[in-house]
């Protein structure tokens, strides 16, 4: 049974973006936090594209997901500058703490852990983005602590204490990776 809400949304996005498959999918991903199967079928029919082509586009591009994204989308930048400043340590620490691998979502759908190849904020790296809020000069300890605080308080604009930043500046100067 095709979801009528999804059908309405696909119709709306098609009107907004014409025949642009990727833009329509971006609209759906933005609203539903993933691409539901119903949406794939409706878009395929609406744009007169084979299902496999639509599926191929979804699975090709990193910003689309076939499974729902968690409440807190946590993205760690692994651009080269963040990498040499210890970005991988942050990913690994969050991965161990959440008991999921990058690209996965916790069973309770609270947190999705992702990596991204460069956000272009290298001066304040390593960066962690949580639901669109950028947190710079992170390290493994601060990242785990920050995510925990955000989940506890629900305040996505919370930041880590100033004192910790001084330690982090020193840490950038230590061995990375």
């Amino acid at each position: 049974m095709i979801d009528t809400d999804i059908a309405k949304d696909v119709k709306r996005y098609t009107k907004m973006y014409g025949g642009s498959l990727i833009a329509i999918l971006q609209g759906i991903q933005g609203k539903y936090r993933y691409i539901p199967e119903d949406a794939i079928r409706i878009v395929s029919k609406k744009l007169n594209l084979p299902l496999i082509d639509v599926y191929g586009v979804i699975t090709f591009y990193n910003s689309f997901s076939l499974k729902p994204i968690g409440k807190y989308l946590t993205t760690v930048c692994l651009g080269t500058a963040c990498h040499v400043r210890g970005g991988k340590r942050i990913v690994d620490a969050l991965s161990r703490n959440l008991e999921i691998n990058p690209g996965e979502t916790t069973k309770d759908l609270r947190v999705t852990l992702q990596t991204v190849n460069c956000l272009g904020c290298c001066a304040i790296g390593p960066i962690v983005v949580i639901n669109g809020e950028y947190h710079g000069q992170m390290n493994s300890v601060k990242a785990v602590s920050l995510l925990k605080k955000i989940q506890e308080t629900g305040d996505e604009k919370i930041t880590i204490a100033r004192r910790a930043r001084g330690a982090q500046k020193k840490n950038i100067e230590k061995r990375g990776s």
Binding site: G19, S20, L21, I22, A23, L25, Q26, D53, G56, V57, F60, Y61, N62, S63, F64, L78, G79, T80, A81, C82, H83, V84, R85, G86, R89, D92, A93, R96, N97, V116, N117, C118, L119, G120, C121, C122, A123, I124, G125, G132, N139, S140, V141, K142, A167, K170, N171, I172, E173, K174, R175, G176, S177
Partner: protein
């Protein structure tokens, strides 16, 4: 501003601008006309800056930049070493405009070039761009004037121009800064180019990881439309041109021009065989001219100031300036705009201030995943397309990642191979399987499972992938491996023969321990260690149980006394 008395408000004009380039010291406030430069400004400093400096020209010392060599405070932007050797023909305009107000751009002479161009023949414009010597700033360095000429000569009454803003090289954010800070300059360049080539429809393809750039260029297009600078009969010339904004969806390969075209067409970003080149058959199989953001931004300057002015900057074969993102283990992280031909040494030491914490410079990586690592011996290399290729790297889009003695070059090769393995479109075998196999071999080396014959196998694989891949991603994928093998071969040997990682990075080959003399037993590392690998009593030096230690580095991140040793 709200707290100021009304009389004072007419004397102070506040403008929110794009990036000034000296990212390490941001947030910045610069007070004109003198160019008084304040760094690391906080919201609570705002009132003092307006009342004391803007109104009374009283300097607030603690907000001034301190020269790391002389230890003296510097008042004016132009005297700061970071800016002195730069030639900021593009980025200087970021400081003068609010990117969300087209009037600011008009006020500094914006769109004068377009006005001039529309009164000139398209052939003359193309000749002008050719004479300037401008080469594509996206990485390939193809002569822009020649590209435009080829596209203009292609048969077809429907042509497209595209701005490639899919800046995917990790560590590179020059295009982001231009698009966020001065989007009108890019639009003006595109209109001039479209007029010269005979196109009436343009696209700006921006990566979706740059939400502010998407927002600002979208607004800029709207405002340009409102002012009659886009749309029908631009400035009464009879020329029509529209721009659409397309967002990327997270695929590095879409920075390659034919993959980008596929993406605009709504398909997977799989590159196409060339020839045909986009100038002949591109978007929807029509002649298409694609240029990089920085290339487009240079066009209004060339038309306004003249091609001779532009070609007077730089070297014999590389004209104009180039913006580089100077990042990594460098003191002065930021965007630097320098004349072509400046040396790496000048950028890293005179502008960049050298390595953080006075560590030893090891290498500078240029050209992103398609580039290579340049060692200390080659620091006098002039920055131009040809010199970098001879050194085993490329100019690329301008990312410049500085690495120090604590960077493992084998790990760097692994990092780039991992990146490219994930980003490969998978279409052709050499790229899809070749990169995967190279990655597996290098991972084995980093884990102490490498064998002597791995080096020659890596070389063979690298050459095959380079020579037989379909597109630029595969063709340059071997550069990080080949350049690190060439200049840092001894590190590979150390990993393979001695099972050691000299830089102390590769987890399978290092050991963590606590330096007794530095540890005061605060217990932080023990608290944060998830493996129970740290033991010790409160206020007494702790120690690490090697069998449990997974070398995750959390103890290093938590220690405030630098007491963790890595060998």
């Amino acid at each position: 501003m709200e707290k100021l008395p009304p009389a004072a408000r007419s004397k102070v004009h506040i403008r929110i601008t794009g990036c000034h380039g000296f990212c390490e010291t941001e947030p910045n406030v610069v007070i004109y006309p003198e160019g008084i430069f304040y760094q690391k400004v906080k919201p609570e400093d705002a009132e003092g800056i307006v009342k004391k400096t803007a109104l009374e020209r009283v300097i607030i010392d603690r907000l001034l930049y301190t020269d790391i060599h002389t230890n003296k405070k510097i008042v004016h932007e132009k005297d700061i070493p970071f800016y002195k050797k730069q030639q900021r023909i593009l980025l200087s305009r970021n400081s003068l405009v609010d990117p969300t107000h087209i009037d600011d751009y008009l006020r500094i002479g914006g769109y004068k070039a377009l006005s001039r161009a529309l009164r000139t023949s398209s052939t003359e414009i193309i000749t002008m761009v050719g004479k300037s010597g401008l080469r594509g700033r996206g990485g390939a360095g193809f002569l822009t004037g020649l590209k435009w000429k080829l596209c203009s000569q292609s048969k077809g009454d429907e042509k497209f121009v595209i701005c490639n803003a899919d800046e995917g090289d990790p560590g590179a954010y020059m295009d982001r800064s231009l698009l966020e800070g001065n989007p009108q300059s890019v639009i003006e360049g595109m209109i001039i180019g479209a007029y010269a080539i005979g196109s009436h429809e343009g696209y700006v393809y921006v990566r979706n990881e740059y939400p502010l750039a998407v927002k600002n260029i979208t607004l800029a297009v709207e405002q340009a439309n409102e002012y009659g600078l886009l749309g029908r009969n631009i400035l009464g010339s009879g020329f029509d041109f529209d721009i659409k904004i397309v967002q990327g969806a997270g695929a590095f390969v879409c920075g390659e021009e034919t993959a980008l075209i596929s993406s605009i067409e709504g398909k997977r970003g799989a590159p196409r065989q060339k020839p045909f080149y986009p100038a002949e058959r591109g978007l929807y199989k029509k002649p298409t001219n694609i240029n990089n953001v920085e290339t487009w931004a240079n066009i209004p300057l060339i038309v306004e100031e003249g091609p001779e002015w532009f070609s007077g900057i730089g070297t014999e074969t590389c004209k104009g300036t180039k913006i580089f993102s100077l990042v990594g283990k460098i003191r002065n992280t930021g965007l630097v705009e320098v004349p072509m031909g400046i040396t790496l040494k000048e950028i890293i030491y005179d502008i960049g201030g050298g390595i953080v914490n006075d560590k030893k410079f090891k290498a500078v990586q240029t050209g992103g995943p398609s580039g290579g690592c340049i060692p200390k011996d080659l620091l006098d290399l002039p920055l131009d397309y040809e010199s970098l290729i001879r050194a085993g790297s490329i100019m690329g889009s301008g990312g410049m990642i500085v690495m120090d003695e604590d960077t493992c070059m084998v790990d760097i090769a692994r990092y780039f191979l991992n990146f490219l393995k994930d980003e490969s479109c998978g279409n052709c075998l050499p790229c899809r399987k070749g990169i995967q196999r190279m990655h597996e071999i290098v991972v084995d080396i980093t884990e102490g499972k490498g064998k002597e014959e791995d080096i020659s196998l890596l070389n063979d694989l690298a050459e095959t992938v380079r020579d037989t891949s379909l597109c630029g991603l595969g063709q340059t994928a071997s550069n990080p491996v080949l350049s690190t093998l060439k200049y840092f071969g001894e590190e590979y040997i150390s990993h393979i023969k001695d099972k050691k990682c000299p830089a102390g990075v590769c987890r399978g080959l290092i050991h963590y321990s606590i330096i007794e003399g530095k540890c005061n037993g605060c217990g932080l590392c023990k608290r944060f260690c998830t493996e129970g690998a740290v033991e010790g009593e409160k206020k007494k030096p702790h120690y690490i149980v090697e069998a449990k230690c997974i070398k995750c580095g959390v103890c290093i991140d938590s220690c405030k006394f630098d007491a963790i040793s890595v060998e």
